[in-house]
Assembly symmetry: C2
Homo-oligomer: 436 residues x 2
C-alpha cells in the first residue's frame, strides 16, 4: 500500500471488509471522538454498567455478606485471573487478579529475589531499562535496598546481553515499553536470562490484550499486568499476577494478607501460604472494580471466535503501519517524525511521534489541540537535557477492537491541520503546570 495514494474511501472499504468490525459494538464510545489512548485507560464496555449495577443492587444490596459465597465473590481473583490467562498463554490456576500493578510487581520481584538469594547469594543485580515505567523502577529500588541488591539500568536494549552474567539475579522488563512502544523478544531474553542463571520478570501492562503473549511458551518466571489499559477494566482496575508453576508453590512474597492464606476462614494466628498462585492474593479485593474488570476482559475473549489475539494483532499491525505511513507521507514535511520502532515485530500496539526542530517543544500543545478536535492521544515529556535522544512524544494507542482504518485516516488529517494551520499555537493549548 502506498500511503500517499490511500484515500478516506479506501479506509472506509478496509473497515467494511474488517472481520473484527463487530467487536466495536461491545463498547460505549463517546460521539465524535477518535480514542487513541486505550493504552492509558481503556474504553467502557457496554456490559459493564449493568454488571456493576447488579453487583451493587443485588449482590451487595440484597445478598449482603452472603454474597461472598452465594455470588462467588470469593472466587473472583481466580476466575478473572483464568480469563486473563487465556490472553497471555497461561493455563488455568496460574493467574490471579489482585491489587495494583505496583503491588503485584512488589510481590513477584520480591519472590524472585528471594529465590535467587536462596540459590546463590552472589547474584545481586536487577537489570532493567531506564525508560521502564517509573513505578517499576521505584518498586525495584525499594526491593533492591531491602534485599541488598543493586538495580542496573540500561539506556539501550543492546546493553542487556552483556549483563546476563553470574551477577544477574533478575531481568525485569516491561514487555512493551510505555513510551516508545518497543516490544522486547520475551522468549529470547528469557532464554538468555535462564542460560545465565537469572530469573525473568515481565510487566505486561502494555501487552495483555494488545499483543500475543505466551508466558508458558516463553518459559517466563513471573509476570504482572494492568487491568485498565487494553483490558478495558475501568479506571484503576485491579492488576493481575502470573507465576510459572515451577515456582508457584515455593515462591514467598511479603504482602501476606489473610486471603492469601491456605485456610483464611480458620483465622489462625500463623501465616500458611495457600498452594500455588493464590498466595499472591493479599487483602480483601475491591469487588466493584474487580467486577468491572471481568466485563473488560470479556471484550477481549469475544475476539476468540474471530481468531483471538492473533487476529487482533494482525489488525493492530495494519492500523499502526497505516498510521506511520500516513503520518510520514502527510505530516512529514510539517516536522513529524516516527519515535517508535518501524518494524512491526519490534512494536506493541502503539505509535509515538516526535516533532523536529523548530517544533521540538510543541508536542504538548499539539496533543491538546488534537484532543480539542476529539482525537485523544497523550503527551509524554522527553528529557529536557537531551531532547535529541529522548524527545517529547505524541503517543497514540491502537485498540483494534474499536479503532478502524478510517479513524486512523481522520486522526492524521487532524494532525496535519493542527500543524499546517499552526492551531497548536492558540493560547488555550499552552502548557499548564510543570510537566518537564
Amino acid at each position: 500500500m502506498n500511503a500517499t495514494n490511500i484515500s478516506r474511501q479506501d479506509c472506509l472499504a478496509l473497515d467494511q471488509a474488517d472481520a473484527l468490525r463487530e467487536l466495536k459494538d461491545q463498547f460505549d464510545l463517546p460521539a465524535g471522538v477518535i480514542y487513541l489512548d486505550g493504552n492509558s485507560l481503556g474504553v467502557l464496555p457496554r456490559a459493564t454498567l449493568g454488571r456493576v449495577q447488579q453487583v451493587i443492587s443485588q449482590e451487595w444490596g440484597q445478598g449482603l455478606i452472603k454474597s461472598w459465597n452465594d455470588a462467588g465473590w470469593i472466587d473472583l481473583p481466580e476466575r478473572i485471573g483464568n480469563k486473563i490467562g487465556r490472553l497471555i498463554g497461561a493455563k488455568p490456576g496460574e493467574t490471579i487478579v489482585a491489587d495494583s500493578t505496583s503491588l503485584n510487581l512488589y510481590k513477584v520481584l520480591s519472590a524472585a529475589l528471594t529465590l535467587q538469594r536462596q540459590a546463590d547469594p552472589a547474584r545481586t543485580v536487577i537489570v532493567s531499562e531506564r525508560s521502564n515505567f517509573p513505578t517499576d523502577l521505584y518498586i525495584a529500588q525499594s526491593l533492591a535496598q531491602q534485599h541488598g541488591a543493586r538495580l542496573h539500568l540500561v539506556d539501550d536494549v543492546a546493553e542487556i546481553p552483556a549483563l546476563l552474567n553470574q551477577e544477574l539475579a533478575v531481568l525485569m522488563l516491561t514487555h512493551v515499553n510505555y513510551r516508545t512502544g518497543y516490544q522486547h523478544d520475551m522468549a529470547a531474553l528469557t532464554a538468555a536470562t535462564h542460560a545465565a542463571g537469572g530469573l525473568a520478570v515481565w510487566d505486561l501492562a502494555h501487552s495483555a490484550g494488545a499483543v500475543p503473549v505466551d508466558l508458558n511458551a516463553a518459559d517466563a518466571d513471573f509476570a504482572i499486568g494492568c487491568g485498565y489499559k487494553y483490558l478495558n477494566g475501568g479506571p484503576g482496575a485491579p492488576s493481575f499476577a502470573w507465576v510459572n508453576p515451577r515456582w508457584a508453590d515455593q515462591a514467598q512474597q511479603p504482602l501476606v494478607g489473610w486471603l492469601g492464606h491456605a485456610a483464611p476462614f480458620q483465622f489462625s494466628t500463623d501465616y500458611q501460604p495457600a498452594a500455588g498462585i493464590k498466595r499472591f492474593v493479599c487483602g480483601t479485593p475491591a469487588l466493584l472494580s474487580m467486577s468491572a474488570l471481568e466485563c473488560g476482559v470479556d471484550t477481549l475473549l469475544a475476539a476468540e471466535q474471530f481468531g483471538g489475539m492473533a487476529a487482533l494483532r494482525s489488525k493492530s499491525v495494519a492500523l499502526t503501519e497505516l498510521f506511520i505511513e500516513l503520518a510520514e507521507a502527510r505530516c512529514g514535511e510539517l516536522g513529524v517524525r516516527l519515535a517508535s520502532p518501524r518494524e512491526a515485530q519490534l512494536r506493541g500496539s502503539q505509535v509515538c511521534l516526535s516533532l523536529a526542530a523548530p517544533l521540538e517543544h510543541a508536542g504538548y500543545a499539539v496533543v491538546q489541540a488534537l484532543i480539542a478536535r476529539g482525537v485523544i492521544g497523550d503527551f509524554r515529556a522527553g528529557d529536557p537535557q537531551r531532547l535529541d535522544a529522548v524527545p517529547h512524544i505524541l503517543r497514540f494507542g491502537f485498540t483494534p477492537a474499536y479503532i478502524g482504518f478510517t479513524d486512523v485516516f481522520d486522526a492524521i488529517e487532524h494532525l496535519r491541520e493542527v500543524l499546517s494551520t499552526q492551531q497548536w499555537q492558540e493560547p488555550r493549548f499552552a502548557q499548564k503546570g510543570k510537566v518537564t
Copy 2:
C-alpha cells in the same frame, strides 16, 4: 431499664423517640432482614448506585482519560481521606485512602519499624494480641522477619504494660477486637507506649464509623482502617491510612508506587516521596470501588447534624446494652452467655455471645438458623483445644444509623425461638466444610 420487663411496644417507642431515626433512610436494606453484620460488610447506601453509575457512564464512558483531571479522580485519595479524617480525629491532609487494610498496615508498620531502627536498633519487639485479626499478625510476622524484629503476642490485655519497655519498637493493636469487641483505651496505651520509647500503630477496622476516635488527642503515631465495615463502602472497599504529622514527612514505606511520588507526572527515574501523607499512596486507585466508598463515608458524615459520632455512640451503647440485657434475661436459661465486655466503655459496637454446655458446639448451627430467619450475624470459631477460654462465638454488630431498638428485640426473640424449639438441630443448619 429492667430487661425482663421491656416489651416490643417499649422498643417501638424508643425507635420513635430516636433522634437518629431518619439516618436509616440513607440505606437500601433488604426487606425482612435484621442486619447485625455491618461490622463485617456494611449495607448499601441509597446514593451509591447513582454515583457509581455516574462514574461509569459519564466520567469513564464519556470523559475517558480526561476525567483524571476533569472529574477530580486524581484527588480522590485525599478527598475521601479527609472525609474519613472527620470521623477519627484527624485534620485535613493527614489521612488518605488507598489499597487494602493489609497493605496499609504493611506500609505504616514498616514505616514505624524503620523509624525505630534508626532511633534505637535495640528496640526490636512488636507487641500485639494473639486474638488480633489474622491479617494484622501475618503482616507483622512478614515485617518482623524483614526488619530483624520479633512479634510478641499477648493472650491477655493485662500482659501489655510489662512489655512496654526498652525493647519495645511498636505496640500494634486493633482498637476494637474483631472477635470479642473489646475496646482498648487508645490514649492511655499510646501514652504508656511513648513513655517507654515505643510507637503506637492502631488498626481502626472496627472503630472508624463505629466508636468515637480522636487520633490527634490520643497522640497516636500511625493508624489504618477498613472501608467496607462501618463505613459502608461496599465489598472490598479501599482502606485508609493516617500518619501523625510529626512523622509524615520523614516516614519511609516500601510500597513506593508512582502515585506516592512527589511529582508523578514527571515520570522521573528515581523515587522522591510526596510530602506528607500522600507518600502512602502506591499505585493507581480502584476508582469504582473508591467512588462507592465516598458514598458510604457520607452516610456517617450525615450524622454530624445530629451530634456525629458521639450521638451514634450513645445510641450504639443503648442498643448493645439492651441486647445484652435481653439476651441474658430471655435466653440465659437456654445457655446464652455474654462473650464481650459487659462495661460499655470496654466494648466497641458489637456484642458476642457464646453457648454454655451442652450447646458449646452449637454456635455455627444457631447462627445459620438465625440467618434463615433473616437475622444476620456471624459465627467465629473458638479454639477447639480450650473452648472454655476461647469459645465459639455468635457475633452481632450494631450500626446505629440503620438498626433500631425493635430490631434488637426481634433478634433476641428469634434467638430464643431457635434455642427453645431446638430449630438449630435441623440438618440444613449443620456445618459444611471444615471450620475449626
